[in-house]
Symmetry: none
Subunit: 257 residues, 2 copies
């Protein structure tokens, strides 16, 4: 049992709710924006809608799991019935991270062979990253956390490196004005993805946390994950939409939408 303060409990309650509606609102926005980009960029928007739809579902579950697993601000964490279910995040990521990667590749509109090669490298790497992270997440042993953290970081760095290189390479091929936005997407990717390992590692910072420290670490981790999710899914998806709009305009789509 983690005894949270009033402020901590209501911060989490509200940030989960914020995550939930941000995901759903972005889903609606990217769905209705389909016709505002050229057909070849629509699949990138569909992928973004799928990502935020799946994440919205999981924030709904996380929100409910949090309220149902706590009583008088005390949260029961673990895997027993009625505990706060941390696994929702991992099930979310195993579905959304591969979709996010396909979303980036789709908006770059590379040649078919290049896209296929990227997908076949990045999707298995992202699955490995998430599957290797989970045992560390649920373990209360810091040694286990560090080992799985390191194992999970290998595919994580590989993905970032491949994406960073591809996005950088594609800068030259982008029409005028788009390059700046793709460059920002690159930064957004590094910046938001960097929050996940920090949130993951938070519990390791303090070896034998007191009850207050454990509550602080739990609250910090959940807030970190939620902010990272909103940036990496909603803001990221809206940036993808902006890039698709600019490329569509540069390729002759009338800008009347």
């Amino acid at each position: 049992m983690l005894q949270l303060s009033n402020g901590q409990w209501s911060s989490l309650y509200n940030i989960f709710s914020f995550g939930l509606i941000s995901m759903l609102a972005t889903t609606v926005f990217t769905l209705v924006s389909q016709s505002r980009v050229l057909p070849k960029y629509r699949i990138a928007l569909v992928m973004s809608s799928m990502v935020t739809f799946i994440a919205g579902y999981h924030y709904f579950r996380i929100f409910n799991s949090f309220t149902e697993s706590s009583m008088k601000n005390a949260v029961s964490v673990g895997t027993a019935q009625g505990s706060f279910n941390e696994a929702y995040r991992y099930i979310d990521w195993i579905l959304t991270v591969p979709l996010l990667l396909v979303e980036v590749i789709a908006v770059l509109a590379l040649a078919k062979e290049a896209s296929k090669s990227l997908i076949s490298r990045l999707v298995p790497a992202s699955a490995a990253m998430i599957i290797l992270g989970y045992p560390g997440e649920i373990s209360s042993n810091n040694g286990t956390k560090v080992i799985f953290g390191i194992l999970s970081t290998i595919p994580f760095l590989y993905i970032l490196q491949v994406l960073f290189v591809e996005l950088t390479k594609s800068l030259d091929r982008q029409p005028e004005g788009v390059a700046a936005t793709v460059s920002r997407l690159r930064l957004l990717l590094i910046g938001t993805w960097g929050v996940y390992p920090i949130s993951y590692l938070l519990p390791i910072l303090i070896k034998h946390p007191s009850a207050t420290q454990a509550a602080d670490l739990f609250t910090g981790r959940q807030i970190g994950y939620t902010i990272a999710d909103v940036l990496a899914k909603c803001v990221f998806g809206l940036t993808i939409l902006k890039i698709a709009r600019m490329k569509s305009a540069a390729e002759g789509m009338a800008d009347t939408h």
Copy 2:
């Protein structure tokens, strides 16, 4: 009452949630992908959307039934009010399996007479297969399980044989490149449908199971059914979409989507 361990309880809780969101996300994806295939292939996508929509509903029910029928990881299984309702799966299958069969036939785009003949043979066979399976599923008597298992296997093998033969025959008629995907569809069909009888038969493996063994068997069966459902409905539907896209492109649809 089946006393599950923490790990078993949370595995089932999470895999039911995973099944639910996989079905719903696939439903949205196949719905928005309608315009990306030629009109004659759209009915196959509609069928796929219906299959995953109906299955998503049932996973929502199964998820709720599971949490409501369990207390402190102990699940009450049976047909009394408040028990874990195994019938949801059978109601799901009686609706989705005929639709799945129509989905395959639709994407093959056979001549009208050939389609009609296939549907009139496969739909009644699939109904017989599911109706004959249910008495065995809910019986706690192994003899009853085996008898209904055998009765249900007769239409099951008939369906697989007819579909396999039809898919194989259609390989020659497919445009270049599509044959490989249709051939993969054939494998997916055999591979995933094969999981159902294995999950069904799991409880027969051990004659007088101890409480621990009974919990293991229950967990194994539910996980098996869920994975088979995700493969046979989501992955299958996405493969149908891929075939429809490839055939549309081969028949002259501009590949700009």
